[in-house]
């Protein structure tokens, strides 16, 4: 029997929700109590699945923990899985993203604050700095969003192992076509309304990017005001915000198998970080952003919470499940692609990261 696993990273620990039918859920945790969990990778490419978790203590710093028994036990690379080479003079503050590769089952990507991309060739036990991006001439001008100076999006290209897209706040979208040796800013069409020149080459505060699973050259971006689509692998971006209640938000999730379906969780505005109209809601498009449907059945109102950039994910069932966690410690699940939601966790610390997978 397959099991759906929803991993919930919070400001004060990790919880694991499990269900055999996506109706009844058990909640296991906390793991790493009093340590924040900003990143989770669920690597299902091999048996047993491996959980990779970015853990950070305000006192004792960041590390990556891993489990090969779905959270029953945890291990840590003794010398640390991820640390900057001495010549950089830098130190990892937080692991923001852990992404299994789509070409090589041994490769895992990670990204950090300060803005850096990392590659592991041993399923996340040790990582090496991707120098091509670290040495980028734009790096001194990349800024720190309110959440920190982070690369928060890593999107390998399933059609070409040499291609990859990353995104950061602030800095925007960058792409490589040569396996990470060189990178180019790729923000044409993404507005930076908070800058004197609203159309800079880079410096955009892109909050999250998702790749269309069936048309990999199609990408969706939630910007710091602005929602965009690219049909040329990030070369150019066009607005798909028309029809949305607001163009602000943090997260975007693409359907795991069906082209054109994506979910956003709108936030009223930069200056008003609560759900539009006080209704916690998901916006769903089935036509790549040409039109939007409000999904709010089962979601609370009035609500004054917020959903962060990595706090939403989809599973790979058909129909797909969509999951998200809020800053007031609630987690909602939908087994019908957003038509209805049920709360599967409450009274947790603020949710930083949610990842879902089908196990077994």
């Amino acid at each position: 029997m397959t099991q759906t696993l929803v991993a919930i990273g919070t400001r004060k620990g990790l919880w694991l929700a499990r269900s055999n039918d996506r109706n009844t859920w058990s909640l296991d945790g906390p793991h790493f109590l009093m340590r924040e969990v900003p990143s989770i990778g669920i690597d299902t490419r091999r048996e047993p699945p491996r959980l990779l978790v970015g853990v950070r203590s305000e006192h004792w710093g960041p590390t990556i923990m891993r489990s090969d028994d779905l959270g029953q036990s945890w291990d840590e690379t003794p010398e640390g899985a991820i640390h900057f080479p001495e010549d950089t003079g830098a130190a990892v503050e937080r692991v923001w993203q852990i992404t299994p590769d789509v070409h090589d089952d041994d490769v895992v990507w990670a990204s950090t604050e300060p803005q850096a991309l990392w590659r592991s060739a041993d399923r996340g036990e040790t990582f090496s700095l991707v120098r091509g991006l670290w040495d980028h001439p734009h790096r001194p001008e990349w800024g720190a969003g309110f959440g920190g100076a982070a690369i928060h999006t890593i999107l390998p290209d399933p059609t070409d192992s040499a291609e990859m897209l990353v995104a950061m706040s602030t800095g925007g979208v960058y792409r490589t076509g040569d396996g990470g040796d060189s990178w180019s800013a790729s923000n044409t069409g993404i507005k930076a309304p908070y800058q004197p020149d609203p159309w800079p080459e880079f410096g955009q505060c892109v909050h999250k990017v998702a790749r269309d699973s069936a048309k990999p050259a199609r990408l969706y971006a939630q910007n710091h005001h602005g929602v965009y689509r690219s049909d040329d692998n990030g070369g150019t971006w066009t607005s798909i915000a028309e029809g949305l209640p607001t163009d602000f938000g943090f997260t975007v999730v693409a359907h795991p198998s069906r082209s054109g379906t994506l979910w956003l969780i709108p936030v009223t505005a930069d200056s008003e970080r609560v759900p539009p109209g006080g209704q916690l809601q998901v916006q769903r498009s089935s036509d790549a952003g040409a039109s939007w449907v409000t999904c709010s059945a089962g979601l609370p109102a009035p609500s004054y919470t917020c959903v962060l950039r990595d706090a939403a994910a989809a599973d790979t069932h058909e129909p797909a499940g969509i999951y998200f966690g809020t800053r007031n410690g609630e987690v909602y699940a939908s087994g019908d692609e957003g038509d209805s939601f049920a709360r599967i966790a409450e009274q947790l610390p603020d949710v930083l990261c949610v990842r879902a997978a089908v196990i077994g």
Binding site: W60, E76, E79, G80, F84
Partner: protein, 93 residues
Amino acid sequence: MQVILPAVLRELADGAGELVVPIDGEAALLRTILDAAFATRPRIGARIRSETGDLRRHVNVFVDGQDVRRRGGLDLVVGSGAVIHILPSIAGG
């Protein structure tokens, strides 16, 4: 040389709350003592200092009851009979 660990780090030292660190001579730099104390316990070392070698912001080290941040930091010369306490600072919410 005695190095006293906070309770939260003792599971990484097989439950030990105190490490005895031999040094050459009558005194050594604090960073040298910490290097020696955690050479075989890198998980603890990484929680006290980042990969740059600096003390983490919210970790305090006291030598004979004095906060080393006010006494030369990791370059403090520590006598062989000193007691080194490692403690988390008051932080968080």
